[in-house]
């Protein structure tokens, strides 16, 4: 009885010790004397082995801790045992020890100390041994075993040790259901580790169960902790996304969304313009969308003149500095050139966006010549068609393919659609609506051309002027 009370007291006392999330980025702590002390203790333990060699095991663990903390000038001999070798030897002794709550508590405390010292591999070994001994004492679901299991889960998660989490997670998930204690940091870490483990292993129902329970606990016990509830909502949303419950996830995080508009003003204005054009198209106001698109292109054309002039000026200043050997001015001149080039790149991409969008609107209105002209200009504006602009470029190409089909130019249409298919499939997958659509276009074009097996040219032929 006394032992159980002792364990409970220790459990309470140590709960507050780990107030911060587990951090395993080992930082060496200088304590050269610890090595000397540990060596002496190990020699003593070897000479006088105690019951089950437990004294030796603890001396080995002390030595492991001292070794991992040692940052003395004299290097540890390479052939000497490493900290992990030493703790493994200690673990082997503890594995043979009978169930004993007091020993389990001692090892638990040792493990927590090593966690605080950020020696996670040692802590993990000690906590594993502590848990096994606590289990053998016949109280696998008791508070001591659960406290140890929680710390073990926290350490395992910090180390990315999924096998250990696999063993601890079912016990902790069951414990979470009945856990009425406040959600202190160490408890939260452990239960989040369990939920994270189930998410990674795609056991989404269990991950969801853990997170919903944690949310209930957080609402009851930590109602003021908005950051915690926010975090749990996001975690739960990612589990719902993983189950393809997209709408549920969206409704969960919608109230948490921070107001947009955090970007630079010109970027936000461009986004707003695209949104307005799209809204008009969805509302059937193609004429309104056309007006917006034309106004935007006119505005961007004048911007382009300004940016081109700024770049020319910056280049001239750089060349003048080089010619006059004004080396001190050169870094600033180069920076101005780089900034002007960057501004030009951004602007050219924005112009391409609007050209593509306006092209689509005119396409929908049947103004095919102008639409085609805009499509071609847009394609010329995207600087990285295989990377960041991949989707935009292939949207325009697919639209061009449809336009050519409408005109009866099936060869050119097929070549474009096959190009789009080859570009999008690896990134978007077979189920993406754009891939489904392009595959159907390709099939329909082949059927129309009565040449289902004829390989298409790798690139579309250039448009005749």
């Amino acid at each position: 009885m006394k032992r159980i009370v002792l364990s409970l007291l220790l459990a309470t006392a140590s709960a507050s010790a780990l107030a911060a999330p587990v951090d395993c980025s080992a930082r060496p702590r200088v304590d050269p004397a610890a090595l000397t002390r540990a060596e002496a203790a190990l020699e003593k333990a070897k000479a006088q082995p105690g019951t089950h060699g437990l004294a030796l095991a603890e001396a080995l663990a002390d030595m492991a801790g001292a070794r991992s903390r040692y940052v003395g000038k004299t290097p540890v001999p390479k052939d000497s045992s490493t900290a992990l070798d030493l703790i493994a030897r200690a673990q082997a002794i503890w594995a043979a020890a009978p169930g004993d709550a007091e020993l389990a508590t001692r090892l638990w405390k040792r493990g927590r100390r090593d966690l605080l010292d950020q020696h996670c591999p040692l802590a993990l070994a000690e906590l594993q041994s502590a848990l096994a001994i606590a289990d053998r004492s016949g109280a696998a679901a008791g508070p001591l075993a659960l406290s140890i299991a929680r710390d073990l889960a926290g350490a395992a998660a910090a180390l990315g040790d999924d096998p250990t989490l696999n063993a601890a997670a079912p016990r902790l998930l069951a414990a979470l259901e009945g856990d009425t204690a406040p959600l202190a940091q160490d408890r939260l870490d452990a239960y989040l580790a369990v939920a994270g483990y189930y998410y990674r292993t795609q056991e989404n129902a269990r991950a969801e169960q853990a997170l919903r329970r944690l949310l209930d606990k957080a609402r009851l016990a930590n109602p003021e902790d908005a950051a915690l509830q926010r975090r749990l909502h996001y975690e739960l949303a990612s589990v719902l996304y993983a189950q393809l419950r997209y709408k549920e996830a969206e409704s969960l995080i919608a109230p948490l969304a921070r107001p947009g508009g955090g970007g630079p003003a010109d970027y936000e204005a461009h986004k707003r313009l695209e949104t307005d054009m799209a809204a008009r198209v969805r509302g059937g106001d193609l004429a309104g969308a056309t007006t917006l698109g034309r106004e935007a292109l006119a505005h961007y054309a004048s911007e382009r003149e300004r940016v081109d002039a700024a770049l020319a000026e910056a280049l001239a200043a750089e060349q003048a500095a080089v010619a006059a050997n004004r080396h001190a001015e050169l870094p600033a001149a180069k920076t101005r050139v780089a900034q002007a080039r960057e501004e030009l790149n951004v602007l050219v991409t924005r112009i391409a966006d609007i050209q593509g969008n306006l092209g689509e609107v005119l396409h929908a209105r049947g103004q095919l010549d102008e639409a085609l002209d805009l499509y071609e200009k847009a394609l010329g504006g995207y600087r990285s068609p295989d990377a960041t602009h991949l989707h935009a470029v292939n949207r325009v190409r697919a639209a061009m393919g449809i336009l050519y089909r409408t005109r009866g130019d099936y060869t050119r249409a097929l070549a474009l659609q096959q190009q789009v298919q080859a570009a999008l499939l690896p990134y978007l997958g077979k189920a993406h609506p754009d891939v489904v659509e392009v595959e159907s276009e390709v099939a329909a074009l082949k059927l129309t051309m009565q040449q289902p097996d004829k390989p298409a040219p790798a690139r579309p032929a250039k448009r005749r002027k």
């Binding site: 997209y246 695209e274 809204a279 689509e360 990377a387 989707h391 639209a399 409408t406 609506p433 754009d434």
Partner: protein
């Protein structure tokens, strides 16, 4: 003769019907629906609060390595990472690897088109600067 006339009338009627159908098909084909106007969202990190903060690699800090790394992630319709790739290196393997390792542990919100989740690549830039 009467039967021949009747037959000819039926053929003409059939021709007229098929022409009308072809015109209707052509009209349907020319009705293009602009894709940019779809309700669409890009894939993104669910919350940066859930991403482990990338630590400056010690060796990189020691060697004063700085740079920008661009990462490409393919986010599945279920928000899980399907593929990760360093699209543009910082020039330093340790910085690239640290950025990649950190972002791989984030949770993602899938892209969507008209309210349905879809697979989509996303690009993220990490700027490593000691300043």
């Amino acid at each position: 003769m009467r039967s021949l006339l009747l037959h000819a009338t039926l053929v003409l009627a059939a021709l007229g019907w098929s022409q009308a159908q072809a015109q209707a098909q052509g009209a349907a084909q020319s009705r293009y629906a602009p894709k940019f106007a779809r309700l669409a969202t890009d894939a993104e990190v669910v919350s940066w609060d859930l991403c482990p903060k990338p630590e400056y690699p010690r060796s990189s800090a020691r060697n004063e390595e700085e740079g920008v790394v661009t990462l490409r992630f393919i986010v599945g319709a279920d928000g899980r990472l399907l593929d990760t790739h360093i699209a543009r290196s910082s020039g330093f393997r340790a910085l690239d690897s640290a950025a990649h390792g950190s972002l791989s542990k984030c949770r993602f919100r899938p892209a969507s088109i008209n309210g349905a989740p879809v697979q989509m690549p996303m690009y993220v830039q990490y700027v490593w600067s000691l300043g």
